[in-house]
Symmetry: C2
Subunit: 460 residues, 2 copies
C-alpha cells in the first residue's frame, strides 16, 4: 500500500477515539503498516499521557525503531516509566549509533539507568563511542559492521554474512582487514555475489579505499559521502585500524544540521540544534540576543557619521531621504556576494587559493551592477522623484547619489566576498561574515562615501 | 592506501611535467589509484588542450566514471573530439541517469550525436527519461534496477541478480512486481541472503512500500530519503506500475541544490545552478540585478517617510543619528525570525497549521528581546553617547528611541515569521520572504513608529 497520500490528521483522530474507548486492538491495527517515523509523529500528536499506552501496543521490533524517532522529551518520559525488562528489550533492539544519539540527549540519572540495563558488550561499545568529541566522526559512527579477514574465501564470507548479517546496520559493503585489524580494502555485496566462491578477499577486494579518522570533523566526513557517492565509510584510528563505520543516513543528518547551522549564523542567530517549535522561548531569545546587541551597538558608528555631517544634511535636506536607499542597496549587494561565497566555501567549491579569482570576479560584477543600478536610479530620480514626489533634486544632487551608489556597490561586493574567505583562513566560521555583519560595515562605508561626494560636488 | 591527505597540487604539477615530456605511462600510473571525482578535478586543473590526451590514457571503466564528474564544458569538448566508437564506448559504460544528466546540459547537435551513437535500447530509455519535466522525480530516476516477479523463489532471484547485477545501479534493494509490473513490495539483498532458497518473493517481501510518482516534485521525493532513511525509492506511473528507481546519491544532489537555491533566494539572488567559479560575469549580474533594482526602488518609500518628517528631524537633529540603528536592528530581528521559519518550512517542521503557534512564540520572543535591547540601549544612550560622543540626548529622547526599539522588534518579528508562511500558503516560495524583503518592509514600519513617538513625546 502507498501511504504517502494518507491524511495523518484522520489517523490521529481515529487513534484518539480508539484510545478513549479502550479499543486497543483497533488502535494497534491502525498503526501496524506505518513507517516508524510516521508512527512517532502520530504518537506525539496524541495526548501526552497516552504515549506509553500506545508504545506498549507496538510489536517489539517496530517499537525500538519508533522509539528512535521520538523527540528526546518523549523518550525520556518513556524510559522513566519502563520496567527494567522493558528498557532492556528496547536498548537491545536499537542500533548502536541510535542508542548513543539517545543517550547523548538524556540527563545523567537516565543515562546511568540505560547503561546499567544494557548487556556488558553493548555497554562497552556505547561508552567507547561516547568518549569521542561532539563534532567528531567517532561520535556518529557505529560498530555494527561486518569485517572480513584478508584470506577469507567468498564462500566463507557469505556464510559469515548469513550468520551475523541480521544484527548489522548494513551488509551492502564489508571491510577487509588483516589479523591486526588494519584496514586493507572493501568488497561490496555485489562483488561477493558475482565472484567465484573460492576466490579470497585479497583477490576480489578493492584496495583504493577512502577512510575517515575518528577525530575528523563530522561535517568533513559527511561532505565526502556527497563527493564520492558513498553509502558507508570506514573509520580508522591513528594506526589505520578499523574501529567503526559511518552510514549515509547519519551523514545526511549531519549535512542537514550543519546547513541549518550555517543558515542560522548567516542570519545572526546562534545555533540551537533543535526543531523550531521544540525550542523554548528563553532558548530562542538566548540564540538571538547576542548578535542583535552587538550589531545594535555597532550601528552607533553609522549614527555618529550622520551626526558629524549634520551641517551638510541641514544645508541640503533632500540628501537625508536617500540614506536608507544607499544603506539598503549596499547591504543587499554585499550580502549577495558574501552569502554566495560562504555557500561556496561550505560546499568546498571555494578555497583560500581562489581569493584572487573571487575578488577579480566580484570587481567586474560590481562595476556592471553598480553602473546599471546608478543609471536606473538616475532616471528614477529625475523623472519620478522630482515630478511625482516633488523632491527638490538638482542634476548635481542626482549625480552625487548615483556616483555614491556605484562606489557603495563596489565596496559592498569587495567586503562581502573577501571577509568570509579571510575568516576561513584565520580559522573562524565564514558563515558569521554574512548579511548582518557585512551590512553594518557597508552602512558606514556608504555613508562616508555619500557625504564625501556631497561635500565635493555640492561645495558644503 | 589513504588518499584524502594527498596534496592534489603536487599531483597536478607532476602530471603537467609528465605530459610535457610525453611520459604517458607515468602520467597514467599517477592517476590509476585515484577516485573518479579526483581524477576529474586534476584534469580540469591541467591546460585545456591536454584533457583529451589524459582522458584517452584512462582504462575504459574509470574513463566513463571520470567523464560523469567533469564539468559540462569539458564533457562537450571531449564529445566533439570523440570518434564514433569512442563515444559509443563511453555512453555504453555510463549509468542511465548519468547519461541523461549529461545530455540535459549539451547543445542540440551534440545530443543528436549521442542519441545516434547509443544502442536502440539505451536510446529508448534516455528519451523516456528526458520527457519528464525538469524538477520532477521522473527526471532524476534511472531504469537500471532489478525487478523480481512475485512468484519467483529466492534461489531464482539470486540467479537473476548474479546474471544482471553487474549492469544495475544498485542491488541493495530489489522491487517485487506482478505480471503487469504493478509494484507490490520490496526485498533487500540482506533478506534474500538470510531467507530459505525455496521461499517465494510473496513470502519474504515487505509490502509496506513508499513510492514516488514520476511527476512528484524532486525535492519532495528527496526529503523522503532524509525522513525514512532510504537508499533507493521506487518510482511508479499513475497506474502504480514500476517505471524506475531513484538512488540516494541523486537525492542528496537534489537536497544540496535546493538548499543552495533557498540560501540564494534568502540573499535576494536568482538561482544559477552552477558552481560560483564556473558562472560567467553577466550570468552573475543577471542573477543579482533584479532583486537589487526592486529593493532599491522600494527604498524610495522609506526615503519619503524621512522627507515627510523633515521638520521634526530639523527640530531635534540628534534623532537622525539613531535612524541607522533602528533600521538595522529591525532588519536583523526580522530576518532572524523569517530565516528560522523559512528553514523550518523547507525541512517540513513548520506547516500552515502551525501559524498560530509560530506567531504566539515570536510575540513572546519579541517582547523579551525588545525589552532587553531597549534597556541596554537606554544605558548606552545615557552613559556612552552623552558622555563620550557628547550627543545632546535628553531623558525624553532616550525614551523615544528605546520605546521605538521595543515596537520595531515586535513588528519585525511578527512580519518576519508570518510572511514566509503566508507565501507558502499562497503557493509562492517562502525563501523569497527573507532578509532583504523583510528589511525593506520593517525599515518603513520602524521609521513610522519612530517619528510617531517623536511627535507624541517631544511635541513636535
Amino acid at each position: 500500500m502507498n501511504y504517502q497520500k494518507e491524511n495523518f490528521q484522520d489517523l490521529i483522530e481515529r487513534m484518539e477515539s480508539y484510545l478513549k474507548e479502550k479499543k486497543y486492538v483497533e488502535a494497534r491495527d491502525t498503526l501496524t503498516d506505518l513507517e516508524p517515523v510516521d508512527i512517532a509523529y502520530i504518537m506525539e500528536s496524541l495526548p501526552e499521557d497516552t504515549i506509553p499506552v500506545v508504545f506498549r501496543l507496538l510489536p517489539k521490533e517496530p517499537a525500538a525503531e519508533v522509539f528512535v524517532e521520538l523527540d528526546s522529551d518523549s523518550q525520556e518520559s518513556l524510559i522513566k516509566g519502563f520496567s527494567k525488562s522493558e528498557l532492556k528489550e528496547v536498548i537491545d533492539e536499537l542500533y548502536l549509533d541510535d542508542a548513543v544519539d539517545i543517550i547523548e540527549e538524556m540527563p545523567a540519572n537516565v543515562v546511568r539507568r540505560i547503561l546499567a540495563t544494557a548487556d556488558p558488550e553493548t555497554r562497552k561499545n556505547i561508552n567507547n563511542i561516547l568518549q569521542y568529541p561532539e563534532d567528531s566522526t567517532g561520535s556518529i559512527m557505529t560498530t555494527e559492521y561486518i569485517d572480513l579477514k584478508i584470506n577469507l574465501t567468498v564462500e566463507d564470507a557469505l556464510k559469515k554474512i548469513r550468520r551475523v548479517g541480521q544484527d548489522m546496520e548494513t551488509i551492502n559493503v564489508m571491510y577487509v582487514v588483516d589479523v591486526d585489524r588494519h584496514l586493507l580494502g572493501y568488497v561490496s555485496i555485489r562483488t561477493l555475489l558475482l565472484a567465484d566462491e573460492h576466490d579470497t578477499m585479497k583477490e576480489i577486494m578493492d584496495d583504493n579505499i577512502i577512510s575517515a579518522s575518528t577525530l575528523d570533523d563530522q561535517e568533513e566526513t559527511a561532505r565526502k559521502f556527497e563527493k564520492y557517492d558513498f553509502l558507508t565509510m570506514p573509520v580508522v584510528d591513528k594506526e589505520n585500524r578499523l574501529v567503526g563505520i559511518v552510514t549515509i543516513d547519519d551523514a545526511i543528518d549531519v549535512l542537514t544540521e550543519e546547513t541549518t547551522e550555517d543558515i542560522e549564523k548567516m542570519a545572526a542567530i546562534a545555533p540551537t540544534y533543535k526543531p523550531y517549535l521544540n525550542t523554548g522561548i528563553m532558548e530562542t531569545v538566548k540564540s538571538r540576543i547576542p548578535w542583535l546587541l552587538l550589531l545594535m551597538v555597532s550601528a552607533t558608528f553609522t549614527g555618529q557619521i550622520i551626526s558629524s555631517f549634520e551641517d551638510a544634511l541641514a544645508a541640503v535636506t533632500v540628501l537625508n531621504a536617500y540614506i536608507p536607499m544607499l544603506m539598503d542597496t549596499g547591504g543587499n549587494g554585499g550580502s549577495q556576494a558574501s552569502v554566495t561565497v560562504i555557500r561556496g566555501i561550505s560546499l568546498e567549491e571555494i578555497t583560500l587559493k581562489d581569493l584572487a579569482k573571487v575578488i577579480w570576479k566580484e570587481i567586474r560584477v560590481a562595476v556592471v551592477v553598480g553602473i546599471i543600478l546608478a543609471c536606473c536610479n538616475f532616471v528614477k530620480l529625475m523623472l519620478v522623484d522630482t515630478m511625482l514626489f516633488h523632491n527638490p533634486i538638482t542634476l548635481t544632487v542626482a549625480l552625487v547619489i548615483c556616483t555614491t551608489l556605484v562606489f557603495t556597490v563596489f565596496a559592498a561586493k569587495l567586503v562581502g566576498c573577501s571577509l568570509p574567505i579571510f575568516a576561513k583562513a584565520l580559522g573562524f566560521d565564514p558563515a558569521v561574515m554574512a548579511s548582518p555583519f557585512i551590512t553594518t560595515i557597508v552602512d558606514a562605508i556608504s555613508l562616508l562615501i555619500y557625504f564625501q561626494f556631497a561635500r565635493m560636488f555640492l561645495h558644503l
